[in-house]
Amino acid sequence: MSNNTNEEIKNSNEKENPQVNSVFARKVKLINPVVYFFTVVLSAIWKAIYWLFDLVVSMFTSIGHFFKLFGLGVFHGVIGIKDFFKRKAHQFKYNDRSGRLSFFLFGFSSFSNKQYVNGVLFALFEVLYIVFFALFGANALYMLTFGKLGLVAPGPDPFCEDEQFCEWINGDNSIMILIYGLLWILSIFFFLYIWNRSINSGYNNYRIKEFIHFEQLYKDNIEISKKFDAEAKKAFEEGISCKDFINSKKAEIDEYVSKIENKKDADYTRYLLINNCRHSYKYFKTVKRQENVIAKLETKREKVNQICQDGLKAHIAECDEKRKAYTGDDPEYFEKLDISIEKYENKNMGKLAKWDNKIKKQNHVLEEIHKRYLTFVEIQETRNNDKYGKFNDYYKYVASLDAKILFYSHYQEFKDLYESKLDKYQEKNEENVQKIVSLGEEMNQKITNTRTSFDAIREKKKALNDELAKVKVAYKEEVKAIKAANDPNKNQLLMEAKAKLVDGTTAIMRSLNDLPSDKNIKLLEKEEIKESKNAYNRDKKYLKTNYTSEEFAMQEVIDMMIVEYKLNYKDAQAFAKKLLITENKAQRFMTSEEVEKELNTLDKEKEQYVKDHPDKYNGRPVSFKETVKSLFNDKFHITILSLPVIGILFMSIMPLLFSILVAFTNYSTGHIPPTQLFTWIGFDNFATLFNPPADSVYVVLPNALLRTVEWTMIWAIVATFSNYILGIVVALLINKEGIRLKKLWRTIFMMTVAIPQFISLLSIATLLKDTGALGRLFNDTFGYRLGFGSDGSANGVMMAKIIIILVNVWVGIPYTILSTTGILLNIPKDLYESAKVDGAGTVTQFAKITMPYILFVTGPYLITQFIGNINNFNVIFFLTGGGPSIVGSGLLGLGQTDLLITFLYKIVTSTNNPQYGIASTIGIVIFIICSFISIVMYNKSNSIKEEDQFQ
């Protein structure tokens, strides 16, 4: 048992830290081969059992998880809908008239706030939607539900008697009814969305206009909110329930509110205070709950600590006894005992650290709760500020007036500067030319510096390599000397020499590995040189050498405005243009009277504006132009996502909903539009699949389907793992040091990625046919035909399956090689170095270092591959087309090598017996299988969890 737990700890260590592997590999060398073999085999068996057990457990937990997720989804959905209507009610209650009216007349508030384009769009949408719904939508929905997907089939009029002169009735098309019904259902959601937008825009306009009013309201109530807060804490500690507490406070709140004259304000204040009480009470409850969690964890930690301490004591006592009883002469024995005690201590520490970590996390949560705490009124105040405060134009406008005033009051100064700089432009040009030259020199200096530094690295590398060669030569000579000397303990000496060599080389190799490879040195050097060249070009761009006289003077004025008067760049440029005014096609400066006049008007404007806005607020709802502008700036995601989302909605989600709906209809042979109708039949298709009536043609279907599911799963597992492992092996072979022509090998394997799959698979299929070259070859050598995809005997089916998997390897390995090569090159080399020094073989290295590392990184990739293989249509369809077929039809053409997905394709495309209802049901089954596997795998995969944290 203790062995097992050790193994378990080792496993968990390996997952967390691949470096442990090298330690393990070092140990391996010391044990004798037989023992080593058995430990490896036993540990492998134990691991397999553990893994299987873990998988089963995680399957059950995943089912639990699935239902939990589902339940949570429903719960949140219900709560969300409730909150939505609550919020709408609130928005209706505390709103002005135009805001309330826009609940019914879309865009009314927009009209009354001069957002005419918005208003027209809203109103137009409402009118058009209602008209179209009345004309078409109602009928479409009626046909979808009560119309049973069509009442009249197309054909000759059933009530006429003379067949020759019968009128042709166009009738209903069930498919179209289904599609339009679905579209109208989706359109209702869209209508609700626009409705919500209209309400929100009305409410926002109201709040933007009333920003100051609400600000004052919140500020007035902050004090009393704090008082209630304190009382809530008291009440909570005394054990009074939330409801009782609020009821007890109602009288006080009413009294407080009755002093407010404005009825609307009074109402809102009451709403604020009551919610304040509830919010505070809930806060204390959460804190208490969190504290309880921490306390529970702490008691558990104490318990674990106690157990650990007891265990340690017992272990020490045991060791002491062993020490006393020991009579052998192994000098390392006592050391070993000490080490075992140390190990035990470490284990204890690890266990406790886990608990400490948990407690720390929970404490952190508690801290966060404390940090974020504000009373309800305070929260509303900050929200008001964040959401509606930004629409205040007052300060912006005053600032712009101030800047203008500043410009005109310093007009004379700018003018003087302009005039004085008019003839200085050539100096500036020359100066800039000079600067560019010096920049060029600087760049050249930098490049030479880079070159010398990289040369130094190269030299260092060369020196190290020389040293390595020297050590090796010395070793060779030593070996020669030993062999020549013919010493009796020659072997001992040889071993020592080898150990010395290993010691010498590892240090050198390590420092060599720390240096970048030759290729990287070249790349880095190139990059740095490029970077300094880029910097030169960048700086050069800002040094203009062809200033004209006016340009230069203007530039100087702009610089002065920015540097001395702190104007922003945009304003400065705009003002600079006003420095000279054009009159009769000639430019001139303004006279001092004109400047005076400008200043006067500006002063007056500012005075008037400040007077008009005593509360320093001028909130203005956003105009349509600003909305459009924001669609290219902070709401750019709406612009850029709209088309793809519409595409996904109509081309992915809608077909999916449609096929779910079709699973509940009898859309199949005998019910094919446009000449026939189909209708709702409930769960009959599911019954046909899983439990068909004894007299129907589909009696054998459940068994056959089960066999198909079985083969699909086997196929997915074998195909995924064979590709994965073989791909990694080939990638390792190609990337092994000393193998040449790496590029050529990679290119050859890339062939099957480059060539479209239908071509490579079709040609292989042609080759493997009985008439094809390989089929003929098989026939000539073995004396019987291969019958690939046509021989229905057990042997032939087995053969077909094996060939399919082999061909899949042919097609699929290159993808694995592609995606793992980069990862293989990124595995830290010192892991291998230390393992090699400790004598771990290639296989051990692969099993203990390479595989865990790659698995760790490519876990998610493996899952997607697995799902992809369940739905791998191409390989099966082009190779065998699902054949050999199962004799005794009524199975919808199901073949022996059919996967669920190719079976589905066959049912759908079959010309004489299409069964769309059953196909959709199978699609749902595939979905359930895929999602279930995904949930299980994602639950198990560590890297996914980490990526979540990463996000």
Partner: protein, 298 residues
């Protein structure tokens, strides 16, 4: 020391041997197809690894509406003179849907990488769930939508819509790439007064060259080699609107055709595979970086 060297030589030889054999296995079917495409003579060509006589007629047959070459072995000439049209159809479909889906994928990836909005997580989760459904199932409805709503039945433009409209869902790899581009660049540009759309077009896209090439390449190769969707949507009756995949599949499996048209199939396969293979190897660097990034990011 000597033994170490010897063992290394032996192991390297074994590796070379394995790689050599595997390379032969990998290349052989392709070589066979190329040889067959030049094969002349009777029906027995199919069961020979190397054809007895060589001819260029198979290639000329593909363009028989210009060259007038027909297949002497065949009794059924219903597919003569169509290949060039199929090739053009496929090219148009692939280029158009490649352009649209590249735009969609990059836009979606950028929005999901750089913006935080309410529907973001919902969108990502829904997209994950959609991926679990077998995509082919949706074709039943797409057939009817194309037929009765867009009136595009049997028209290859319907394929463009189907291939590219839902492409935004495959944003994962591009998003992973955008996540690795530092956000400081955006912030610096924003201080300089650039809007978010300018940042996307003028700053992020030039930096994302590898992923653009990868997206273009994959979204071109998808429609180029697709059989399932195109055969269902176009239908087998509209011969002139087929894509090369449908045509070549008919060459190998069609009734009355499969027995006599395999050398023509081989020639067609070479003509179809050659441009895409050259394109692929020219842009291989970017493809590898895309796949590797995708494998790590999931």
């Amino acid at each position: 020391m000597k033994s170490l060297k010897a063992s290394r030589i032996i192991s390297n030889t074994i590796i070379y041997l394995i790689l050599g054999i595997m390379s032969i296995i990998w290349v052989l079917p392709i070589v066979w197809i190329v040889l067959q495409s030049f094969g002349g003579g009777g029906i027995s060509v199919r069961s020979q690894l190397i054809p007895e006589t060589f001819t260029f007629d198979n290639y000329l047959y593909l363009f028989s509406n210009f060259t007038g070459v027909t297949n002497p072995r065949a009794s059924n000439h219903s597919l003569d003179g169509y290949f060039f049209g199929w090739f053009c159809n496929t090219l148009i479909v692939a280029v158009l849907s490649c352009l649209i889906s590249t735009l969609f994928v990059l836009g979606t990836a950028y929005a999901l990488s750089r913006f935080r909005f309410k529907a973001r997580t919902i969108f990502m989760k829904v997209n994950l769930v959609i991926g679990m459904f077998p995509g082919f199932l949706g074709m039943i409805i797409m057939y009817w939508v194309m037929r009765d709503i867009f009136h595009l039945q049997g028209n290859y433009f319907s394929l463009v819509i189907i291939y590219s409209a839902g492409a935004g869902g495959g944003y994962y790899i591009a998003k992973g790439f955008f996540d690795t581009i530092s956000k400081n660049i955006d912030e610096a540009a924003m201080i300089d007064g650039a809007s978010k759309s300018q940042i996307f077009w003028q700053i992020i896209l030039p930096l994302a060259k590898p992923i653009i090439v990868y997206t273009v390449l994959t979204s071109f190769m998808g429609p180029w080699g697709d059989y399932v969707t195109s055969s269902y949507i176009i239908g087998l009756q509209n011969t002139s609107n087929w894509t090369v995949a449908i045509g070549l599949y008919q060459f190998t499996t069609g009734q009355d055709i499969a027995t006599s048209y395999y050398t023509q199939f081989a020639a067609g396969a070479v003509v179809v595979a050659l441009p895409i293979t050259i394109l692929f190897f020219a842009l291989q660097k970017y493809y590898v970086s895309g796949v590797t990034g995708g494998a790590v990011k999931g």
